[in-house]
Amino acid sequence: MLMKKSRFAAGLAAVAAIALLAGCAGGTDTAASADAKPDYTKMTSKELADHLIFNGGFNLAHETQEGTTVAARMTQDNIQKMCTESRNKPTPEQVGKIVAEARASIKYPEGGIKLGDWKKGRDLAWSGFGYRAGHNNDNHASREVGANCYNCHQIGTDRTGGNFGPSLTGYGKTRGNTEGTRKFVYEVIYNAHSYFPCTIMPRMGYSGMLKEESISHVMAYLLDPESPVNK
């Protein structure tokens, strides 16, 4: 983080100096000299992308449902940075770092991992509501935050799910509802990078999008022998 920031700052200072020089020499071109923009052509594409995002490109001060701002959402953490840099094909060294960091991030429920209500889990798995911010803000007081599972996974056979992720139809039937399975499923939902570094699956627990109780319901939908997923 520090490294990146200082490198970025140095680049910015350099382009600012160039922009100043250009502005002085510019003379009559009011459009160019009025806004003292850095010279975009002197930046690397990554520096420019970061510059555009954090200097007018996004509504950074906008407050988010999790109590931070859009600025925090747009700031990359280690895993996001490594997966961006490698375009989701991390080097062996990055794999080690990502898996270790993801494992360390997982918080387990007190009293063990238990299954909730598969019916609630079915509704959550289907729902894509929650945490959208900008021209419309999802109001969490009006509806429960969904788990978005069906966007990428086929789960039950009564609804059409996406296929970005593997099919989870019959998941509990084939894996069994054992302590080992429950731990694995919990960890994948919480932070899937612990097993699949640079996966596209969101870190549903780590990000705070799904609370402990919601995770227990989604897990019941996948693992409970009574769930239609396993019929």
Partner: protein, 280 residues
């Protein structure tokens, strides 16, 4: 005299080529389907049927009237405005945007250029509803934008990369496209990258920026969105994507917006534009 001629020439061109004398947006789409049999392009037979009766075509016709009418405090039409191919030239302008404009020293898209024309040439204030209201088929903006875009239907996307700023913005846009961020760690590439081609979000088949013959439909905006019953702009689509990604709002007309649009247009290079398109 010369000035009169300059105004008259593009007008004549418009009259000859309007009403899709050569091909309709539906023709362009069906041509792509015949060539590729793409599951992305064919996923909604209803949309393929309805595109010939798209309400956005009427939005564009209304825009043509607005474009040619003397308007604003200066009581002049938009026919002297430069959309990149010289004053008054709209034919083929939309498929060559975003591009660099010397008069603002910026890379600008069609929407930004319409705002520039309305505020500098016609004299509208920036907060005049005619300029400020950007969304919906009833807005001047969507009418005028759809009109200009229609005049590029069937033409290959060809945004210029001759100015260093155009290259810088396109490359920064690619960085933004692959940048993972936000609560769900998404990037544009999560749904539209090389690995996403023809995968499905629920029942919706995805297009990839690495498959230009699909991608041209994805970036063909203005389009009539059936689910919203309005013609929508490229910027509206980008805003919606970031909203779905759980980042936050990308700013209208910002350079970040221009970077993304520069990348996505370049990715469709050479493929025919479907303007206006119809989407779910």
């Amino acid at each position: 005299m010369i000035r009169k001629l300059l105004v008259a020439m593009p007008l004549a061109a418009v009259m000859v080529t309007s009403a899709y004398a050569e091909q309709t947006p539906g023709d362009v789409l069906r041509g792509l389907i015949d060539r590729t049999q793409s599951p992305y392009l064919t996923q909604s037979p209803q949309n393929v049927q309805m595109i010939d009766d798209s309400p956005a075509i009427w939005t564009g016709y209304e825009g043509g009237d607005l474009f040619k009418a003397p308007r604003g405090p200066n009581n002049v039409s938009m026919e002297s405005c430069d959309f990149g191919k010289g004053p008054g030239v709209v034919k083929g302008a939309a498929v060559e945007l975003p591009r660099y404009f010397a008069d603002t020293n910026k890379v600008m898209d069609l929407e930004g250029r319409i705002v520039h024309c309305m505020t500098t040439v016609q004299g509208f204030a920036k907060d005049d509803p005619a300029v400020r209201t950007r969304h919906g088929s009833n807005s001047d903006m969507m009418k005028i934008m759809t009109y200009i875009a229609m005049e590029s239907n069937g033409m290959p996307w060809n945004p210029p990369l001759s100015h260093p700023l155009e290259v810088a913005m396109r490359d920064a846009g690619e960085e933004m496209f692959f940048r993972r961020q936000g609560l769900m760690d998404f990037s544009c590439a999560t749904c539209h990258g090389p690995d996403a081609s023809h995968k499905r979000i629920r029942a919706s088949v995805m297009s990839s920026s690495s498959v230009p013959s699909d991608w041209t439909k994805s970036i063909s905006w203005p389009a009539f969105r059936v689910g919203q019953q309005h013609a929508r702009s490229p910027q509206n689509r980008v805003r919606g994507c970031y909203w779905q990604m759980r980042t936050g709002q990308i700013r209208q007309d910002s350079d970040a917006m221009m970077a993304i649009l520069s990348y996505w247009t370049d990715a469709a290079r050479g493929q025919p534009a479907i303007l206006p398109d119809m989407k779910r």
